[in-house]
Symmetry: C2
Subunit: 452 residues, 2 copies
Amino acid sequence: MRRFTYLLIVLPLFSFSQHEEKIKEIYDEAFTNGRVYEDLRFLCKNIGSRLSGSPEAAAAVEYTRQLMETYRFDTVYLQPVMVPHWVRGKEEIVRAINSDKHGTFDMNALALGNSVGTGPEGVLAEVVEVSGIDEVNKLGKKVEGKIVFYNGAMDPTIINTFGAYGGAVVQRAYGASEAAKFGAKAVIVRSVTNRQDDIPHTGSLVYKPLINKIPAVAISTNDANELSRILTEQTINVYIETHCQNLPDILSYNVIGELRGTETPEEIIAVGGHLDSWDVGEGAHDDGAGCMQAIEALRLFKVLGLKPKRTLRAVMWMNEENGLKGGVEYARVAKEKGEKHIAALESDSGGFQPMGFSMSGTDDQKDQVKAWRDYFTPYRVWDFDQNGGGADISPLSPQGTLLIGLRPSTQCYFIYHHTPADVFEAVDKRELELGAASMGALMYLLDQEGIK
Amino acid sequence: MRRFTYLLIVLPLFSFSQHEEKIKEIYDEAFTNGRVYEDLRFLCKNIGSRLSGSPEAAAAVEYTRQLMETYRFDTVYLQPVMVPHWVRGKEEIVRAINSDKHGTFDMNALALGNSVGTGPEGVLAEVVEVSGIDEVNKLGKKVEGKIVFYNGAMDPTIINTFGAYGGAVVQRAYGASEAAKFGAKAVIVRSVTNRQDDIPHTGSLVYKPLINKIPAVAISTNDANELSRILTEQTINVYIETHCQNLPDILSYNVIGELRGTETPEEIIAVGGHLDSWDVGEGAHDDGAGCMQAIEALRLFKVLGLKPKRTLRAVMWMNEENGLKGGVEYARVAKEKGEKHIAALESDSGGFQPMGFSMSGTDDQKDQVKAWRDYFTPYRVWDFDQNGGGADISPLSPQGTLLIGLRPSTQCYFIYHHTPADVFEAVDKRELELGAASMGALMYLLDQEGIK
């Protein structure tokens, strides 16, 4: 009995320190010879923004394919997927034309993704300000023939800024159709950010079926405040001209690289980000960072000679921003092939200081990962209690896959999100490396221990 | 018996939720009507760098005094302290003059604080590279008449970058005297940073008594790598010209603002940062952020109508960077007056995402604060297990004061530390506000519960 007790105590300790050592190797390599920062530099500076269907998106597919080939992953291949093809066209005009104080003044604006354009004739109408969709429903027919200006702000008191984003983004996503129901001619949306500045934030909208599709633009928060201030003093007419349009769907690809498992290769652990970005900036935090971190996570296995038991797969999903077609197709093919994903891990919250991993799965699955928390606290990754995985991996949920999201600090994310400011220089090298190593370390534990 | 048990359970819960609510008010106010960001902007943009003894340091004293008066703290006063007065003088020249490849090339350099200057005649000598002080001691008389080039780097695998800083900074602090012992003419030090760039980092050195004081400069890490590379190919002579000098000590001040306690005013809780900075950049992260956060912490009490039981004191310590005279004088006066500081809290690790509070004190004192951890985890402040307080509050330690340091993420700190890059734009608004509110919340708990 005594000997039995002894074994029970000693074995887990041995296993802990063995894993601890390998995890340290993973972090050390990421910090000393890491590639993730330079890989991201190439993606941002040599390719840049890469909206689904754009030539740059095609370049990003080829770049990441070559990168994973260069790192000698066992298999690298493209998974075809048809994606929406929205183009912005000529620069937007959003112009107040009868301000008593300013006369004519132009606002910093971006058409919302998926929006129809006004075309060269533009839209000119009086502006009605609302704080959200509820108010439009109250106003009803009073918005007919008008431009509805959604000016609801993100709640600054919510600590996780993604929570505050969730509260405000509904007006961007659904505001156009809600206003069109009552005959509005167009909508202007306050940029969904917690900062006061001149930068407009784009992002996708969703038109409801059977409702007239009206043009939609976002304006900067400074312009939103000024427009709102003027509206307290006078009625104001705004001219909107946008040249965006939805072209026919086009062929693109998810890019997949694998390290094949040596013991149970049929069990797959996927890690990734989305390769597409909006058509402004360089898609550095959103989500070049996540893609390059995923490739780095597998490269760390390769270069450290860690032979995975299970199959590890880095996936660059296409079209998260305006369709999620890549994520949906990936899960469809996985099901069709009878693949078993025991876990899928996504980094799509920016390349900031990692704080933890969120999860979506059964309590039993989550508890297995939570038990590994002590491996991560030396690296300041501590929070395993939040819910959620990631948009691109969410279609795997019905297959029983444990979904995991890397959760960095959220305070700065909405400075850059969907803007021209989301460039390589906004990403910190060590924070990016910490995230890549943290994903590598979690993949290592998932591979060694599995998910029952 | 049943009633007694009932009370035992309910009272602590009531107290927890009462504190929880007040703490939420503190954070909400900081995020919605906070002043810390704009206060820091003024300090950085209208005053700028403020080395002890400089006119700008005097301006910063007057600015913070006025600021705390404006916020109607109960008492605002200056505490006189004599401080060192080092001046940089004309721009440094650090020039390799006989490189086969480059010919003459100038390095990005800053004289180290407290260093003597070369004067207009400069120093010209052959360079000997070493990785640290040990190597100088091994070389001994071989460095006589030479310029010693300390090229030890920060260890990138240490997660807390302050730990890596501690390993590398000894060559900056003591390298000059260690080389002078053996007759070296000057020293060049690799900038103490974990980044590869063109920015030189200054910082103080300490001359040992009875050893010849020789000039010392820091060069950027890019220049250090290039100099080191050239040295593998040829001997190289470097010309150094610096015009820095130590002037006589000069009168300056700690700036102190108080909210007087309503129940036990004789018990003091101090919160602060250091008002002086290096003479390059704007001293934004180091330590304008900490000073403005301390003032904001007290302002939050004032504006929320939280009447403290104990006396709360915001302190802007002078001369942390090259002497610590302000911190020493503050503790001396406190002792002389018989003041009882139950706790002192410093923010001097930059205005980044707060991660926790470190402490220096008895286990019993620390345990009392650790018991409050659950109040902070909703705000992502989680780590109460690190040791240490802060430089300026350390002289209070012999008085039995619990010392507490705000601990933000450390990954980005050494991009900016002691450089021209430490400017207002490098500080994030929400991260700064989170730090100020976290300090305010901890002061609230310290005030309500005391430290036994």
